[in-house]
Each structure stands twice: as C-alpha cells, then as structure tokens.
C-alpha cells in the first residue's frame, strides 16, 4: 500500500502541489498571507511535498531530522499551527481522492488506503505539534526568566539611599522577590533609606498594600527606613476607600519629592556647583 501511495505522489507531484496550494490559499486567512509572500508559500509547500514523499524512501532517522528542520522553519515563518495541521489533512485528502478517482485500487482496499495514509500522516502531525509546543515552551520560559530579572531591582543611587522601581502587576511570586531583594539589597548596599516607586503599578489592592506594609516592616527591622513614592491621585483615593492604613509608611507622590526627603534624612542636600554652602552639615555630592 505504501508503494502505491508513494508512486502516485511521485507521478502526480505537480498536479498535487497545484491543487494543494490552491486549496490551502482558500483556507489561509489574512494572518498567514500577510506574513508569507506568494513565493515563499509555494516554495514551502513544494518543500513539504518533497519531504512528505521522502518519508518512505529515507531512513527513519534521516526523515525525522528533515521533519524537525521543516517544522522549525514553519514555526519561524509564523504560520499558525492549525493551518499546518490542516495542510497535512488536506494533502492526504487530495492523495486519497486522486488514487480513488484513477481507480488505482478496488473498493475493498479503500479502507486499507485510508489506514495507510492515516498511519503515515499521523507521525508528521505529531512531530510538527511537538516542535511548535517545544518552541512555545522555550519562549515562555525565557520570557519568565526575563520577567523575573526585571521584576524587582534595587538600585543604589547615593550613599545610603536606594530605589526600587516597580512596574506592572504584583503577584505573590513577585511580592516574595520584592521582599527578598529589598532586604538583601539594604544589607548589601548599607542603605538607610529605601524608596519604593509604584508609579508603574496599575492597581493597588489590599494584597499589594499588605505586601508593601510587610516589606516596610521588614526593612525597619534591618535598621533602614522605607518610603513609598509615586502614589497617583486615583490610587490614593482607592487606598482610602479600601480603608488601608499606611500610616506606618512614609509616602510621597513623586520619586523626586521622595529623593529630596531621603537626602534630608541623610543630612545631605544637592547644590549647584560653585555655590558655597554655609551649612556645615551639608557636603557636595
């Protein structure tokens, strides 16, 4: 049965290819056609047919290597997975109909032909789905790592003053990291004042507030002071409505104001170069 299929495909390669490209174009939505030019579309389809027919000629290992290469290429082209798996189905339908139309088999063998095609296309679908999902998993895990790296940086800006800018939603995982980085950073940089900037945090609900309060408490325990800056007016209103008590934490509405207050605590101030300060406490930084 396999040799019958392979012979048919070999003999009708051009015909199948044309029919297939035509059918797939009907199915392809704008999303596919936008990312793929006509030439690439036909080229890739041709390569696919070549590869499919080599399935039964090549050694198994060599074939799976080629299949993986092809799947990776399709993934890079950005074709939706449903389009590719559908392509395989359409391909086997074309071959099935073609063989039946030319009466290359009798009716009793139709089931066998069907089964043969099925057994032959299934591993292909599996491999392609496999490559797709591996690629996605890799992307997701890379992004997760990238996100973790930018999730809670503590930046020392002056002697004894550090800033932690927070951007985006805060979940439990991130809250843990904020706490850890905050405490480790305070000890490592010998910070006395830490400014937590929440300008980029879209929503401050009770959980986020709770984590901030806990972080501020912990910072106080290691001997530093925590200041919450970047509280937008609407956030201030929701915090009040929620009835959250942030009295234990010093708050400022902008990072700039917070920085000025922090410098004051450190008994430092910024002056224009050339000005001579008469205040003996202050020094130029």
């Amino acid at each position: 049965m396999n040799s019958l299929i392979i012979n048919y495909i070999d003999n009708h390669k051009e015909h199948i290819l044309n029919l297939w490209v035509e059918k797939m174009k009907e199915k392809a939505d704008d999303r596919v056609l936008r990312v793929v030019s006509n030439q690439v579309f036909v080229g890739t389809s041709r390569e696919f047919v070549e590869m499919v027919t080599s399935n039964l000629n090549d050694e198994n290992e060599e074939y799976s290597e080629r299949l993986r290469d092809f799947a990776e290429k399709v993934v890079k082209l950005g074709w939706p997975i449903s389009f590719v798996t559908e392509g395989i189905q359409v391909f086997s339908t074309i071959v099935y109909d073609g063989i039946k139309d030319e009466k290359l088999i009798n009716e009793e063998d139709e089931m066998k032909l069907f089964y043969g095609l099925h057994k032959w296309t299934n591993p292909m679908t599996n491999e392609i789905v496999n490559v797709y999902s591996t690629t996605w998993e890799r992307t997701v895990s890379l992004q997760k790592i990238a996100l973790q790296e930018l999730s809670a940086p503590l930046i020392p800006v002056f002697d004894g003053i550090s800033v932690m800018p927070l951007i985006g939603a805060i979940d439990t995982e991130r809250a843990k990291q904020i706490m850890e980085n905050l405490l480790n950073g305070v000890v490592k940089h010998r910070s006395e004042v830490v400014l937590i900037d929440i300008t980029g945090v879209p929503v401050v609900d009770t959980m986020v507030a709770h984590h901030i309060i806990q972080a501020a408490d912990a910072v106080r325990l290691v001997g530093a002071q925590c200041m919450l800056v970047g509280i937008r007016p609407e956030i201030a209103q929701t915090i009040v409505s929620l009835g959250i008590n942030l009295n234990q934490v010093t708050t400022k509405n902008t990072l700039k104001k917070g920085m000025e207050a922090a410098l004051e605590i450190m008994k430092k101030k910024m002056i224009q170069v050339g000005e001579i300060s008469e205040d003996s406490n202050s020094k130029i930084i």
Binding site: P202, M207, H210, Q237, S241
Partner: protein, 133 residues
C-alpha cells in the same frame, strides 16, 4: 440590554485578565480615571478572593443601562466553601487568610451597590454595581 463578558479565574494571572477586561469596559462606558481605578481595584479584590478561597470561579462584567443611566456590574461567582458569617466577613480587619481584611468591606465602599449571597459549602455570588455620575 446587558452585554456580559466573563473571565474564568483559575490562576493568579487570570486576576490580571479580569482586571484588564473591567478597565476596558469602564473606559468604553466613559468612567473617569478615578472610577476606573475603583472598578479595577474592586474586580481585583473579588477575583483574588475567588483565587484564594474557592480556587476557581468566574468574574463577569456587564454593561448596564437603567433609564438612560449607564453603569457597570461586576458579578463574581464561585462554588467554593462559602462564607460562614457574612456580617463578620464584612467587618473591617476580619480575615481568615492572614490578609488585611479590607477586601469585602473595601469593595462595598468602592462601588455604589453591593450584594452578597453565600451558603456554606455551596459557594458565593457577589454582585457590585458602579453608576456613571
């Protein structure tokens, strides 16, 4: 005519999805920045309650129109353990999970109308409405 869209809550990131849906609908309806923040915070609280206590459930956002008066309704439904004492749960500072205990009473203050139906062992349904002023 009410248009409803829902987000299933199963992971912590679904809370963010529910919040974004709420913010978009609130923006469409023409709520101001402060009310948008109130609505998203309320959704965040309700969705987080589902995630913490019931583990899974659903948050639905509905556009409302009552005699030309536009509003937004949040419906949070779960079939979790339910609330034993609603009066206690609505008290400030009461929490069974070590939180601040400001969630439910906070939502009531953030929104204009608030209704809670819960039976222990069966689940909880919370409805909250915010009208455009």
């Amino acid at each position: 005519m009410d248009i409803q869209s829902c987000v299933n809550i199963q992971t912590e990131w679904d809370i963010v999805a529910a919040r974004q849906l709420g913010r978009n609908v609130a923006k469409e309806l023409g709520f101001g920045v402060v009310d948008q923040a109130r609505i998203t915070t309320a959704i965040s609280e309700l969705a987080r309650n589902i995630f913490i206590y019931a583990h899974k459930g659903r948050v639905c956002i509905e556009k409302m129109n009552d005699k030309g008066h536009a509003g937004l309704r949040i419906i949070a439904i779960d079939s979790g353990p339910g609330i034993n004492d609603i009066r206690l749960a609505m008290e400030d500072g009461y929490s069974t999970s070590g939180g601040l205990g400001a969630g439910l009473p906070g939502v009531k203050r953030l929104m204009d109308e608030f209704q809670i139906v819960s039976s222990p062992g069966k689940g909880t349904e919370i409805t909250a409405i915010k009208w455009i002023r």
